[in-house]
Symmetry: C2
Subunit: 353 residues, 2 copies
DNA sequence: CTGAAAGCGCTTACAG
DNA sequence: CTGAAAGCGCTTACAG
């Protein structure tokens, strides 16, 4: 099962010139005669020559590959971010290596080591919810491997970060519910080890406070981002003597679970309970009533993260300061929170996929 | 920005022995003295030595990496298959390189070349719906690069394939609708350039024929796998003078689009129209009424594909015959097709994510 | 049991 | 303008 790939040596022999000359001609060096250059290029094309990337890596101490560590690529949020990363990476000639932590600390550590042993030029990371200790990243950073965090960052590590304004987004979502007339607003939070969850919860609380509304502990349920949590939390909230008249879920997945539970329990949205999510899944617009949410710029987040990382890789100088970019989520009002609106509108057709 | 990674040379100098000895000790060669071996291993561990994979690749003409070409990783079907692939690959010491064709022929071709120039040891492919010509894969195969196709295969290329029994699954889905009492069953098909779409359509037709039901052209709408297609098709079907009393969609995404449209139009499922999908998306169980579907063994498909590929890579002998594995999808009956059933059941909690 | 040498595919000072 | 040589990090016959 031998692969026949042409090498510079073979091209040289066939042309009766030296390897050095072939190599220089291929790289369009100015010190090679035009005629020689033409002959080399022609043969290289005919033979489908492509340089062996491993030989180059060995020489340059560069691999032209970057690693990406995310909880889960089947999560649409991450697969869209990865789309943005690949967009930039391929354009600039880099290969992308993806590793999933499945939100488990040990997997994140072993994935990080594995990817590092593959000598990637840099790393793009969104940490696992189970990660509380960050030496595996710190080690790399200290070894001079550039890291950029996106969405879920390690606050204590100094490097570029690309985040979403979770606090502001949650504030805006809650404010929207208030303006629609809701007064007893509950929140279903994600895993509190993650800053994104804490920030969203804080934005929610501060909006309530700003409008002089009650912040009740029993109206704040904490779990993680799965839809099962949303359903359980909805049961729990609606069983309270003091029922909420709105629920702001920290993610669309949570919200969709809550949505199903609320329907089952016989509540009308938004008349009985208004509902909002965070993230905008493809199907959030297709459920009945369609789910209001905060749209996150996922693809753009991937693009910007990759750009920052590649810039870091390609500048020789050490970095003096690091940038934290905060992208704005956008309010997307649909029927689940439009009080007094009627839900039947042609929907689901102008929605992005 | 120089990376400091220890090399064998440095270890050798520090220990005052030769590179050869270090190398052999590291590989646990039997010709090295126990004491020397211990000293080498200890230092290697202390210095966090990891062999440079590029040097090894150069030597072995092996990269221990495989390429995966899929239409779109944000499609849950593919991200789950990729999960299975990575499971096997990492376990057997291989790196996975993913490339998305976005269902565009040109992208698939350039992705294939790109991945090939990275010298992967083998390729796992699910072709783009826009691909009608397959020389880019044939070239690789002829160069001795093993390829395994999954789900969407190129029929004319002789190699291992892992498929789903789309014909049988569609037959079973249609039969289920018939047994529930439906008599005017429509089908919304995927892109007909894909065998999976044609096979599903054929299974649908043959089931109708077997039960002596009418196969009407106007009840078969063809598009692609997007939910927009499902919605448009539902409008079209329900506008017919002869309305169907059931719709079998070739994918859950199509079905979810149809589901939203049917609700909007005021139809009750399954009383007015029964609905079935194919694939089982995470959210198919969370819509109201929950969607019946054929569950595909996606993770298992990824696992088996990767195993076949790695076996091919690791056996030296040329392959004499190739295997086509056909995995069975499983009927998952939910409320959208359970005629006479009442939908309210605790749902969405025992569902896989 | 250990070392010197050649070579995987490539680039680049150094000569000419 | 072109070639011979060294070297990136590693392994492995070939000597001893």
């Amino acid at each position: 099962m031998t692969r026949q790939t042409v090498t510079i040596k073979e091209l040289a022999k066939e042309l009766g010139i030296s390897k050095s000359t072939v190599s220089r001609a291929l790289r369009d060096s100015s010190e090679i005669g035009a005629e020689t250059k033409a002959r080399v290029l022609e043969l290289a094309r005919a033979r489908h020559y492509t340089p062996n990337p491993f030989a180059l890596s060995l020489l340059n101490h560069r691999t032209y590959s970057i690693g990406v560590i995310v909880p889960d690529i089947s999560n649409p949020f991450f697969s869209s971010v990865i789309g943005g990363i690949e967009d930039v990476a391929y354009q600039r000639g880099y290969q992308v290596m993806i590793f999933q932590s499945h939100d488990v600390y040990e997997r994140e550590v072993s994935g990080t080591r594995h990817i590092a042993s593959r000598r990637v030029d840099g790393l793009l990371v969104s940490i696992a919810s189970g990660t509380l200790e960050h030496n595996h990243f710190r080690e790399l950073a200290e070894n001079g491997i550039p890291i950029v965090f996106f969405d879920r960052a390690v606050e204590e590590i100094q490097t570029h970060k690309v985040l979403v304004d979770d606090y502001g987004g949650a504030f805006q979502a809650t404010e929207h519910l208030i303006r629609e007339g809701c007064r007893r607003i509950a929140h279903i939070a994600g895993h509190l080890s993650l800053a994104i969850s804490r920030n969203r919860a804080q934005g929610y609380k501060d909006a309530l406070i700003k409008y002089g509304l009650e912040v009740r502990d029993e109206w704040i349920v904490t779990g993680d981002f799965r839809h099962e949590v949303g359903a359980d939390a909805a049961y729990q909230l609606m069983a309270l003597k003091q029922r909420p008249d709105a629920i702001f879920a920290a993610s669309d997945r949570i919200a969709i679970g809550a949505h199903a539970a609320l329907r089952q329990l016989g509540y009308k949205m938004p008349a009985d309970v208004a509902l909002m999510g965070f993230s905008d899944l493809a199907f959030s617009s297709l459920i009945d009533p369609p789910l209001s949410t905060m749209v996150q710029p996922t693809f753009e987040m991937g693009r910007q993260s990759a750009e920052l990382l590649l810039d870091m890789i390609e500048t020789k100088k050490p970095h003096m300061f690091y940038e934290t970019r905060v992208l704005k989520p956008e309010l997307m009002v649909r029927e689940s929170s439009r009080k007094g609106g009627k839900w039947i509108e042609p929907t689901g057709f102008e929605i992005q996929d």
